[in-house]
């Protein structure tokens, strides 16, 4: 049974990275999830596993407001309930067949998912927006160290080529962290490119420290 402390929002993707009508794989500390945006632009999340034969739903496809599994085409609605089983097109699927819809919200250009809906929305960070996400093969401490970061509540404050930035970390494993980089909203394209390049260099530093350790 999930503890009260499990009711927290986890940053799993950048909103701009999920186009209308597409599904992507993502990770929570509890396991793999599929995050998808319906054709009308609404965001949804559920477990990354079809209840039929366990195929990853993140390999599936979105039609309208539904997500279909690529294996047998089982079709799920926004509440996770199975709406259609193509092998038996005339039969209404039993209501118990469900791929496990999860609470999901968007804020600051980030997609946040929880296993249990927390009482509050994720805090809005004024003046910042998501730039890029990447996976760093290092511990959170090694990352904070390489980026010369300062840990604040829920994020790590850094400076990247002279710009204030924030790192959101979603810990995937002992040395695997999913990082979302937030930057000030008014940054120019060339500044964004410079920040992105700086992030690559610091990732390399964080990962090399790991090897040396």
């Amino acid at each position: 049974m999930a503890a009260e402390s499990d009711a927290r929002w986890v940053p799993v993707a950048i909103s701009a990275d999920i186009m209308d009508g597409t599904v992507i794989p993502a990770r929570l500390p509890t396991g793999r999830i599929a995050v998808w945006r319906s054709v009308s632009g609404h965001i949804y999340a559920n477990g990354d596993r079809c209840p039929h034969r366990g195929m990853r739903l993140s390999h599936g496809f979105v039609r309208g407001e539904t997500l279909s599994c690529i294996y047998h085409g089982w079709r799920f609605g926004t509440d996770g309930a199975c709406q259609k089983i193509p092998a038996h097109p005339a039969v209404a699927p039993p209501k118990t067949i469900n791929c496990g819809a999860l609470p999901v919200v968007e804020g600051n250009g980030v997609v946040w998912v929880a296993t249990q809906r927390p009482s509050n929305e994720p805090s809005h960070i004024a003046g910042f927006e998501a730039l890029r996400s990447l996976v760093i093969t290092a511990t959170p401490d090694a990352i904070t160290h390489a980026f010369e970061g300062k840990t604040i509540v829920g994020a790590t404050k850094v400076q990247l080529v002279g710009h204030d930035a924030l790192l959101l970390m979603n810990i995937l494993g002992p040395d695997e962290v999913f990082v979302i980089v937030l930057i000030e909203t008014d940054l120019s394209v060339s500044d964004r490119l410079a920040v992105s390049a700086a992030v690559e260099g610091l990732r390399r530093a964080a990962e090399t420290t790991e090897d040396a350790a």
């Binding site: 034969r53 195929m55 990853r56 390999h59 047998h72 193509p86």
Partner: protein, 280 residues
């Protein structure tokens, strides 16, 4: 320790036409084996210092880690002299050997995985068919399976309703018999022989015995490789890796009668290498 029942079965480990004289290392049920072709005399399979029993059949070399209580199965239809026998070539798949077999027994995925070849989204319905565990031969059989197929075989001219029969004569082998377009009274035979390397890794050795005088051998090989590689991208992405034998874990429907029978038969015989018994 792998259940003895699984050790006592026969498994494919090589293509007779391609055995290496220097010896090739592999795995069988997690155990190291070495397969050697021979210039004269029979090929050998060695493991742990001893020579394992071997059989040469269906163009492949077969072996066992245990003491089988019956001979390797036969496929009498495949012996017909007018048939073209096709060694399709090994493909390694990062999945449970049992998942590889179960996928081969399924038709409901044809419209989505083999689109415009073995199935079409416009014709997804799986009608009732018959499944039984034949106790006299101790094999799983599905018959009267029908499915509309845009391109059923290399030899098919256009879309046809194909009839299928499925047969599981050993824990990691499956044979399908399907409508043969050039000879409507006969069946084309397509087999999947699976070598379990570990519980989540297998070598799949497909083989066929077809009536097809028109297509070049390479085209027949490529058609079957195409179909199998389409399945492979599914097989490597099923969770959990090991085939759940606990019925509560996955949700079958009436289209899945063959797989339900296969899982029941596996459990009955303790063929559990590559399976998980309870939800983890």
């Amino acid at each position: 320790m792998t259940a003895q029942a699984m050790r006592d079965a026969w498994y494919p480990v090589g293509l007779l036409s391609q055995l290496s004289f220097e010896g090739k290392d592999s795995l069988l049920l997690g155990q190291k084996i070495t397969i050697c072709g021979a210039e004269t005399g029979a090929p050998r399979v060695e493991s742990d210092g001893r020579n394992l029993p071997v059989v040469e059949r269906f163009g492949h070399l077969w072996t066992t880690l245990g003491a089988p209580n019956k001979d390797l199965f036969t496929i009498p239809e495949a012996d017909h002299p007018d048939r073209t026998r096709v060694d399709v070539g090994v493909v390694r798949v990062k999945c449970s050997p049992l998942r590889a077999v179960e996928n081969f027994l399924d038709v409901a995925h044809f419209p989505f995985v083999h689109t415009d070849i073995l199935g079409a989204e416009s014709h997804p319905e799986v009608s009732e068919y018959k499944v039984e565990i034949r106790d006299d031969v101790d094999e799983v059989w599905a018959t009267k399976v029908e499915f509309f197929q845009p391109q059923a075989a290399k030899s098919a001219g256009g879309g046809i309703t194909t009839e299928y029969m499925y047969r599981v004569p050993a824990p990691t082998c499956s044979i399908l018999y399907k409508t043969c377009p050039p000879r409507p009274d006969e069946w084309d035979v397509i087999a999947l022989f699976v070598q379990p390397l570990t519980e989540d890794l297998c070598d799949v050795w497909p083989w066929m015995a077809l009536f097809d005088d028109e297509s070049a051998m390479t085209d027949l090989i490529h058609f079957q490789q195409l179909i199998f590689l389409q399945d492979r991208s599914i097989l490597e992405n099923q969770i959990p890796k090991r085939l759940p034998l606990d019925p509560a874990m996955e949700t079958p429907t009436r289209a899945d009668l063959t797989s339900i029978a296969y899982r029941r038969w596996l459990k009955r015989h303790n063929y559990t290498f590559g399976a998980q018994l309870v939800a983890e």
